[in-house]
Amino acid sequence: MKIILSVIAISLLVTGCATAAMQTDTGKMLVARLEEDFSSKGPATMERMLNQDEVQKLCSAYPLEMSDEQMETLQASQLKTVKYPADGNYLGEWKEGEKIAQNGRGMQSSDQVKGTNGGNCYACHQLAKEEISFGNIGPSLYRYGKLKGDGEAVVKYTWAKIYNSQAFTTCSNMPRFGHSEILTEKQIKDVMALLFDKNSPVNQ
């Protein structure tokens, strides 16, 4: 059950024995409160906050408990959302990809509507070795292409993982960059090149 959030020091959380009915009430109260207390600003809209999709709804449960079957169903439905590049080209420019990986702007209330979003990959992943300021929420992707090769299967998988990570890991922490329209197809190609291009700093 890798998807169950690590339950640490739970004793301090109220005993966790709230009934389903109470939870529903709290959930309803929460949505009502959010509606009253928040307002849309820039690209951060109320609509995207209040109208949770299936993934968001299921993944807000705490503790998270899903049967293997439920997880598989959810992953399958998410995999269906993945759009592969129409021209069959998966790799763009790694230099652009590096810029996208460094850039964490976009979709915040302080950002411009329809501005160019970043991928913010370094926030969670190690990529190029030169960049020492990287996070550890996701696995290290240093030498990703070198280690995984560039076979069709791994390239397609990686595309889909960036496009919609929920297709492979239920309640993954990673944003669904393609599905949620954070990055464009071209941008995903550039990030793919950062991962796979043999000249990319990631593979040195």
Partner: protein, 164 residues
């Protein structure tokens, strides 16, 4: 929390960096140098030395022809500064008769940051905080017995991360 991007933080710092650049671009590094070096006396603010562009010019304006790196001069800071706007620096000199100390940030367009004239009875040791536009050496410059000494330390300026 997710404000870990470089770009975002750079936006904030960019203004200052441009600022520093503009000061130098405007050529405020002025005619003073033609009149020969003027020593910055503390208590008397010298535009020539504070507005000098680049380390060599700043040193020239301070009247430093040459200096010796000395293990008796110290610069203490962190290897990494979380934010270039506030970099803690302690400078000290164990050289007898230290009469003057200055802190210069090598890569800042205007390197001279602060200078101390040291009256008798005051220790040649100061702690303050400086702004750094980018990763750079911090130079502690000391004048004692009419000679110049220095020590330097590199501080890396990182950007990004969440608010803690």
């Amino acid at each position: 929390m997710f404000d870990s991007d470089k770009k975002g933080v750079q936006v904030m710092d960019q203004g200052r960096r441009n600022a520093l650049r503009m000061v130098s671009a405007l050529g405020l590094v002025c005619a003073g140098s033609l009149l020969g070096p003027i020593r910055a006396l503390a208590g008397e603010w010298q535009a020539n030395s504070f507005e000098a562009k680049g380390l060599a010019n700043a040193l020239k304006e301070l009247g430093v022809d040459s200096y010796t790196m000395s293990s008796e001069v110290s610069v203490i800071s962190a290897e990494i500064a979380e934010n270039g706007a506030v970099v803690p620096v302690s400078v000290g000199s164990a050289i007898p008769n230290t009469e003057y100390m200055a802190i210069l940030i090598e890569k800042n367009p205007n390197p001279l940051s602060v200078a101390f004239n040291i009256p008798e009875g005051t220790e040649a040791a100061f702690t303050t905080r400086v702004k750094m536009g980018e990763t750079s050496n911090i130079l502690a410059l000391v004048k004692a017995n009419g000679k110049w000494f220095a020590a330097s330390k590199e501080v890396k300026v990182t950007l990004g991360g969440c608010g803690g």
